[in-house]
Structure formats: structure tokens, C-alpha cells
Symmetry: none
């Protein structure tokens, strides 16, 4: 895992759902929370029992969160804001709106500006009508997913997927895709590539090989396979 730890301290996300209407969406959100390591879910007046059989069926391993008491049901949105460092509302209303209440930033921008520690309360509105103006007023930041089309109203749980992906999973990205070859294998591979290129009188080809090998984020297993390939070719070309 290139030195990253799954346990490194990071911002805690509290998923807050305001009056969710669909059991399947709710179940999928539990599964997503489990996928992305979220353990703080606050639900304001859901329109169903959070232990409905349909919820349990679609939540798969997300059921753990209910069993472990990580999902709480509350009467008001305010009850879900306790200890929040930053409160983020999500909306599907266009950023271009002249309404200052709806001025919104993208998930990527959000991931850059949110503090790295503390509780971030991420609020999602009703499937049918979203968040009210009064609800939007409690937020520090509003965010919208621009889909690049005029139909950017995502289904609730799919919006949650994208926010969790952007705000949690990518924190681990840095340095993950470096070249994994050992120095010895990498250098040996380049030596064979050089033999091949010069045997064929193609100095420029060596340069290109070197460059693309450096860019291709080689995995350990691939290094060995390529080294042996280059070595076999070189042996055939240089033996005379």
C-alpha cells in the first residue's frame, strides 16, 4: 500500500439525511458508509423504519452500522449539527443561480478546502424537494455536482457515493501509483532496452522506452515480465 495507513487521522464525515423517502436509497447509503469507513449517520425524520426488511436487504454489510448504533434518528436538522466543525449542504440546483443561498462549489473544490480534522456534517435533502431555504441557511458551504448536462439531478444515494469518494477515498491517493520496480530490476531493464535499441541503431527508441517506462506506473509483477522480455530480445539481437 506504498506506506499509507488505513488508520491515519482524517476528517470525520457525518452523513446527515433530511427526511429521506426511499428505503432502497437509505440502504445503499448504509452500504456506501461501510465502504468508505463512515461511522456517523444522522437521519432526520425518515419516512420509514430504519430497520425495515427492505433496508436490511439492500444494505448488505452496511447493516453493521445500525447494529453498532452508528445510525441515529433525530427530530430536527439542528439535532444533527452537534460538534460540527463545518456544515455542508448539497443541492442539485445550478451554481449559476443568482440566489446567494445557493452559491455552490464542486466536490473537488470542497475536498481541497475542508479542514483535515474535525467533524464535517454533510447534509443531503429529500429525494423529492431537496433542502428548504431555512435548512440551507444553517450551512457553511453549499456544494453541487455538475454533471455537464442539463439533467444534473442525481439519485440521492449516487450523489452520496460521489461525495464520499471525493472527500474520503482520495485522501489516500498521493504516492500510491509510483513505480514499484526495485532499483536493480529497473536499471537492469533499462540496460537491456539500451542493448536492443543500439543493436538496431535506434538511439531515439531507447529514450522513448525509458520515458514510457517511467510514466507507466509499473507494478512489481510487470517489472519482472518486462525485464525478462527485454533480456530475451537483447540476447537474440546481440549474440552475433
Amino acid at each position: 500500500m506504498s506506506g499509507r495507513s488505513l488508520d491515519q487521522p482524517h476528517r470525520r464525515i457525518r452523513i446527515t439525511l433530511v427526511e429521506p423517502e426511499g428505503k432502497i436509497n437509505f440502504a445503499f447509503i448504509l452500504r456506501l458508509a461501510k465502504n468508505f469507513g463512515i461511522e456517523d449517520i444522522c437521519v432526520v425524520k425518515p419516512r420509514f423504519s430504519i430497520k425495515d426488511p427492505e433496508v436490511l436487504r439492500f444494505a448488505t454489510r452496511g447493516i453493521d452500522l445500525i447494529e453498532k448504533g452508528k445510525v441515529v434518528v433525530r427530530e430536527t436538522l439542528n439535532d444533527c449539527l452537534e460538534n460540527s466543525k463545518v456544515v455542508v449542504c448539497t443541492t442539485s440546483k445550478e451554481r449559476g443561480s443568482r440566489d446567494v443561498l445557493r452559491v455552490a462549489v464542486s466536490p473537488v473544490f470542497l475536498s481541497l478546502i475542508l479542514p483535515r480534522t474535525g467533524t464535517i456534517t454533510l447534509i443531503f435533502g429529500r429525494e423529492s424537494t431537496g433542502l428548504t431555504r431555512e435548512e440551507l441557511k444553517v450551512c457553511d458551504i453549499v456544494s453541487v455536482i455538475e454533471t455537464g448536462t442539463s439533467y444534473n439531478v442525481l439519485n440521492l444515494s449516487h450523489a452520496v457515493a460521489i461525495y464520499l469518494y471525493e472527500l474520503t477515498a482520495r485522501r489516500c491517493e498521493t504516492g500510491v501509483f509510483g513505480n514499484e520496480c526495485s532499483n536493480e530490476t529497473y536499471k537492469a531493464m533499462l540496460r537491456e532496452a539500451w542493448k536492443i535499441s543500439s543493436a538496431l541503431g535506434k538511439d531515439e527508441a531507447y529514450l522513448v522506452l525509458k520515458r514510457i517506462l517511467a510514466r507507466a506506473s509499473l507494478r512489481g509483477k510487470e517489472c519482472g515480465v518486462l525485464y525478462k522480455l527485454f533480456k530475451s530480445i537483447a540476447k537474440l539481437l546481440v549474440k552475433d
Copy 2:
């Protein structure tokens, strides 16, 4: 909108689903396709009718895609690969695997290396068992969503949401590093690579070459150099 136009030419994504099992997932994928402006969906042997009432209920405006003939049902995965510039397989199997077939990159990395034009076929496997080894072999690139937990098996339509978000909506922030080779040169290069690998009895080496070429963000000039290098080597190896 940071100066970007919704109408600018961009990579076309073909969503390809191999034997999808769940109607609700399929419906959500249609809605996501509509959200993100995808108009090319190929479905290999679905386990339900694509016009099932449950599909129509959850797809909302995604129904347009069925009505307009943008969703095709095919008998084999191969039938879905026509005119692809790059074929990407998705998997939830860990990157750490020693199996060269499953060496995978993140969605972010993918968004950086995919060419800006041409058809990208993005393949998703069965909900239950994913893609087979034979299916993984047709891919140029394998990608995995790392969720930062040990449970990174996302529900199908949520994985689709994250890929579409990463590969289309954000396309305007990226796209600088796409493969610049012409289709002809690229294919010719792969043919020569195949000749070399099979002349040496190294089938796995071909797979690795194909994969690293797809990942290396080749520039136009580099394509020509590599093609000629491979051709020279192949000529020497195969002439007997």
C-alpha cells in the same frame, strides 16, 4: 463554468455491462447515463428484460436512452468492443494482488491517461462475481476504486456513478495527458508487440506491453518511434 462548454468534443464513454443481475441497478445506471450525457450503453445477456416495469420506474429520465435506441443488448462481450479506442475493465479486487491480470489504476489516474477523443469502453462485471479472467484479458487497462477500507466492494450502480463523475464531469480539469497515437499506428504497434511476444513464447509479456502502452500517455512522436522499434524487432525474430 470556468470557460468550458458543454458542447466541446470529448471522449465518448460506452458503458458496457456484462450479465447484469439487478433491475434496480440497471435502472439507476440508465439515470446516471442520462445525468452524465452518456448515449452508448451495451448490455451483454442481462438477466431481465431491459424494459421491465421496475427498470422503467427507477430509471426516471434515463428511460429516454431506451426509447432512443441508445441501449443495445448483445450476446457476447466482444460484440460491445467495436470501434473502441481503449477498453477499461473495472474490478473490486485489491491492487496488491500478484496477478498481472488484475494490476489496476485508480479512477483519477484513469481520467488523466485516457485519450481525449475516441470511444472508451468501460466494462462492469456481474454484481455477484465480477468479470472472468477471460473477460479481463480483453482490457487495455484495469481500474479499481479504493475506498480506504477493507470493504471496497461497491454496489454496481454506485461504482458506475463514481466512474462517470471522474471521467466525464471532471474531464475539463484533466485530459492533458491522453494517448495521442492514431488508431492505425496504435493497432499496428500492438500487432508487432504480439509478434515479438509470441515468437519468444511469452504471452504474458504481450499483456504487460499492451497494459503499459495504454497507461503511458503516449505522445504522437513516441508512437511512431515505438512502432518502428517493435517492427524491427519482430522482423528479426519472425524471419526464420
